[in-house]
């Protein structure tokens, strides 16, 4: 016997190890894809463009542009964002100064403070949310969406709702 199992080691031994993988149980319901989730913590400050393909929570400060078109973005209570935001579902609990584009929905939670224009098929403001700007509830196809990769001249929207029609 070449193998000697050290005490306390639970690694499989040749005797107990079965190299033939057991057939996976047949399932008609594919397991839900695991969603990756990134967090920008309260002490983090970012200036620039954020892109990616996982859900994002922001508790810190972001200035620039946030583009996660297929993912959810949450601006937490401590989050301070001065940027345009593009996402699938966007939930805001903190402060946002910029335009927000939601593929499916934008939700302004109680005590959120938002200044900018909102574009989404569904927009919900909870009581206590403070909002100033324009809401366009047209479906995404009818909404002008921001360029995926803006040119060098692009910058976060400062003055808001310059043209409402």
């Amino acid at each position: 016997m070449i193998w000697k199992k050290p005490e306390g080691d639970d690694a499989p031994t040749p005797a107990s190890y079965n190299p033939q993988p057991a057939p996976a149980p047949v399932s008609h319901h594919p397991a839900p894809a695991r969603r990756e989730h990134a967090l920008i913590g309260p002490s983090i400050e970012i200036k620039g463009n954020l892109t990616g393909s996982e859900d994002l929570s922001i508790e810190g400060r972001v200035e620039g542009k946030i583009e996660l078109q297929q993912n959810s973005i949450t601006v937490g209570k401590n989050g301070r964002v001065r940027a345009d935001i593009v996402g699938r579902v966007i939930v805001i609990m903190g402060e946002v100064d910029g335009n927000v584009y939601g593929e499916e929905q934008i939700l302004l939670r109680q005590a959120s403070v938002v200044q900018g224009n909102l574009f989404a098929p569904r927009v919900t403001l909870e009581d206590g949310a403070r909002f100033k700007g324009t809401i366009d509830m047209a479906p995404r196809t009818a909404v002008e969406t921001p360029a995926l990769h803006p040119g060098p001249d692009s910058k976060p929207s400062g003055p808001m709702f310059k043209s409402a029609t």
Binding site: V123, T124, R130, F131, K162, T165
Partner: protein, 200 residues
């Protein structure tokens, strides 16, 4: 009897039938997307109500914005503070302006400035919905109006404190709104006159 002043918070905010709001909705064209300027606060209830129409709604939260400008820069001319609180460009136009009870919170001079500003974004047929109070007192800050349905509006006061009402006279209102015709006018039992003005 001053119904707003005697409102009991324990029984909940008073709900009123609004003939003026119903008239406003009856005048809206449903064949195209409408553009709405709400000079009041952004409320989820109202956004939900308007979402049944193809529309674009701009929330100005005008009174708080204007007061904040004046508080930050007391020397700023009032017309400039108003313009900064309503930063829409010359390309913008609205089909509906909801001024709610804001007219009760300005003197005639300020109202002239405000109406002149609003006219920049009006086109023929633009409708303004406003409430003029004839009560001796009004809440210290504009009332928050929640749209319940086509003819019911909930009055929600942010403060129990009251202030004297300017009680703008009909002749002053008519002079102020000279560029508009009255498309609807309803005196409600609690001493508030609802107006729907249409830009000529």
């Amino acid at each position: 009897m001053n119904r707003i002043a005697s409102f009991n918070p324990e029984t909940g905010p008073p709900e009123h039938k609004s003939l003026g709001f119903g008239a406003l909705l009856g005048l809206l064209q449903n064949d195209r997307k409408i553009s709405i300027l709400d000079l009041g606060q952004g409320l989820g209830t109202n956004i939900d109500f308007w979402s049944q129409f193809p529309c674009r709604i701009s929330i100005a939260d005008f009174y708080r914005g204007y007061q904040a400008k004046l508080a930050a820069e007391p020397e700023m001319p009032r017309s400039m503070a108003m313009a900064e609180a309503l930063p829409y460009d010359g390309q913008t136009s609205f089909d509906v302006v909801l001024s709610w009870d804001l007219f009760n919170y300005f003197d005639l001079e300020e109202l002239e400035m405000l109406v002149k500003l609003l006219c920049r974004w009006c086109r023929p047929g633009t409708l303004i919905f406003g409430l003029i109070s004839f009560q001796p007192q009004i809440p210290n800050q504009p009332v928050v109006y929640k749209i319940l349905d086509n003819e019911r509006i909930l009055y929600q006061m942010n403060t129990p404190e009251m202030r004297p009402c300017p009680r703008h006279q009909p002749r002053d209102v008519a002079r102020l709104m000279a560029q508009f015709r009255v498309a609807g006018s309803f005196l409600l039992r609690h001493g508030i006159q609802e107006y729907v003005w249409a830009y000529k």
